[in-house]
């Protein structure tokens, strides 16, 4: 093993971890506001990637411009899913049934993508697609840097929104204690809907970032949802910083393990981390009291 190779994998791991962190933040938002584990999150991610690919091949638009449409569209779709579907479920069995409902959404998206675009693997051809930067002997593809930049910007924006705005305060209050938030005059139903919308918007941004340098196909979402769910359990369900840290740590670990073990075995690190967490610390390593019961 040589230095530059390890360094390169560390860089690639961090870049991948950024995307994981953004998507895991979305999953955490759903869980925070509604106690819903959104299995369809990765399916929406792949859907957004397909939309970016479609815009690029049909109209010749740069995939990143597709976000102008997909991000607001996904936001409103998220609000609609929360208001029209999730709230219909019985409170007593909400967590279990919502898993099945979002699982059905994931299958639906996968099936529709397969029907519309067939199972063929797709990839966006970009002028800057093969360019890469040399960094202390490590070569980093430009598209991966752009994807990381998008994810980091979105995550930063989300952080500012949650910490600095009035709406963010209301959202955090709703996550922390719904009844108390209601008592101080927050319209928790509406805030929960917006929280869901924000979560889905992260999938739109992540999907665009993914479409830049990945080959996409309808069943790709299973390769994403497993690691993402492992990340939110390791980080502690409901904790956004926990999810971000776990995403970075696991992303870099996966990338490093690819050197000796190859891609397939390296992916098992997520599941080993998941089962290890369940044995040692079921509430996750950074989770607060939220995680204990769920």
């Amino acid at each position: 093993m040589n230095g530059p190779l390890i360094f390169q994998h560390v860089i690639l791991g961090i870049l991948l971890g950024g995307l994981y962190a953004l998507l895991a933040a979305g999953l955490t938002l759903y869980f925070g506001v509604m106690r819903v584990v959104m299995i369809a999150h990765a399916a929406f991610l792949v859907l957004a990637a397909y939309l970016a690919w479609y815009a690029n091949t049909e109209f010749g638009i740069d995939p990143m411009l597709s976000m102008i449409v997909t991000v607001p569209a996904f936001f409103f779709l998220g609000v609609a899913i929360q208001r029209l579907l999730i709230t219909r479920l019985r409170p007593a069995t909400l967590t279990m049934m919502s898993v099945l409902l979002t699982f059905a959404m994931a299958l639906l998206i996968e099936g529709l993508l397969g029907l519309l675009f067939t199972g063929t693997q797709r990839r966006i051809q970009l002028g800057y697609g093969s360019a890469s930067l040399e960094l202390f002997g490590a070569s980093v593809p430009v598209v991966k840097l752009i994807a990381f930049g998008l994810a980091a910007a979105a995550l930063g924006g989300l952080y500012l929104l949650l910490k600095k705005s009035r709406f963010g305060q209301a959202l955090r209050a709703t996550i922390q204690h719904r009844d108390a938030a209601q008592l101080v005059g927050i319209d928790t139903d509406r805030v929960a809907g917006y929280g869901f919308g924000l979560g889905l918007a992260t999938a739109a941004i992540g999907g665009t970032a993914l479409s830049l340098d990945a080959t996409i196909y309808p069943s790709l979402h299973w390769h994403w949802i497993g690691p993402l769910m492992a990340i939110i359990v390791v980080g502690g369900l409901g904790s956004i910083p926990g999810a971000a840290i776990a995403a970075m740590v696991l992303g870099v670990t996966q990338s490093m393990l690819q050197i000796p073990m190859g891609t397939t075995w390296a992916q098992t690190v997520f599941y080993i981390a998941l089962f290890g967490t369940l044995m040692l610390r079921p509430q996750g390593f950074f989770g607060g009291r939220l995680a204990q019961r769920f």
């Binding site: 479920l89 279990m96 409902l101 059905a104 029907l115």
Partner: protein, 366 residues
Amino acid sequence: MRNASETSTPPVASDPAVPAGRTFPLVRSIQIIALIAGGALILAFPELAPNAFILSTGVIVANYAVTATSWNFMGGFTGYISLGHAAFFGLGSYATALLITKAGLPSFLAWAVGAVIVGVLAIPVGVAALRVRGASFVIATISLVLILLLVFQAWAFAGGSGGMVVPRPFDVLRPEHHRIFFYLFVALLAVALLVWWLIDRSRLGVGLKAIREDEDKAQSLGVPTRNYKLAMFTLSATFTALAGGLYALWFGSLDPIFQFSILVASYMVLMSLLGGVRHLFGPLLGAIIVGSALEYFKVQYGDTQFHLVASALLLAIVVLFMPDGVIPAVKSLVQRLFGSEAASIREESAAELLEKDRSREEEAAR
């Protein structure tokens, strides 16, 4: 009047486990006749099937019925929804295949040993997964399928992504082969149903249902919740592995993508929920409905993803509109259409109870 009905034991007509002894002899005999007729119809199916293809579809549906019933040991009794039972299905099939081809065991001995091995493997998995409830449990079970898919795709000893070929146990023509395996699956289904029924009536079953309704209360009342859940998880995994092993012997070849498929796991959940997880025959009914529909879609629409869309929509509809399944839905419909027998029984018994209470009060006053 109001007082009397409140202090007396609440009428638990809605719980399907209780009324077995209390229902009318007429209803009871209709149930028994329906049961015998249904059983006879299932046993006669290979004779009625017009061709080998329909017969093989019957084998697939019987396989679905066994897996859904096995899933219901966990899902129905404890209310823990596992989306990972495809892992045990796949492990069962691979264990059988490996024991036959690598260890040289006879087919059905390999099948039984394989299921025992999977049952033992399920214990540590269950210990880890059952440390959490609800969403985390579902995540852990899904991850189990995904990790095993990765492992079996990369593991060269078990054939890697090319899968494995399993030698057939019987040297017979194809239709005869289907017929034998149809009866084997039905026999396994009968055993699974019998065990489910026995547990349903036992002390264990009561404890498990207490966990389903309110785990904290059950625990505080002294139900050994973890051991009960673990026992059910292991039993459920073992039956699923038996189904998987039988499938391997029948189908003859294994592909990791189909053996460790989240889709297979979701079918078990869909079938059980559709039929009704609280009912003995719920998963069987769901398997017959969903299994036939799936096979029909596959024939009709071939390789397209239409069966995915159809099962997704069906699952969403079941979850949103009848999470208790078709059996309770039909029951309430029948009650609404033909007047409610249950209500009249309940009124009668309430009046009787009132009478009893009154006589007891009089005795106490004396």
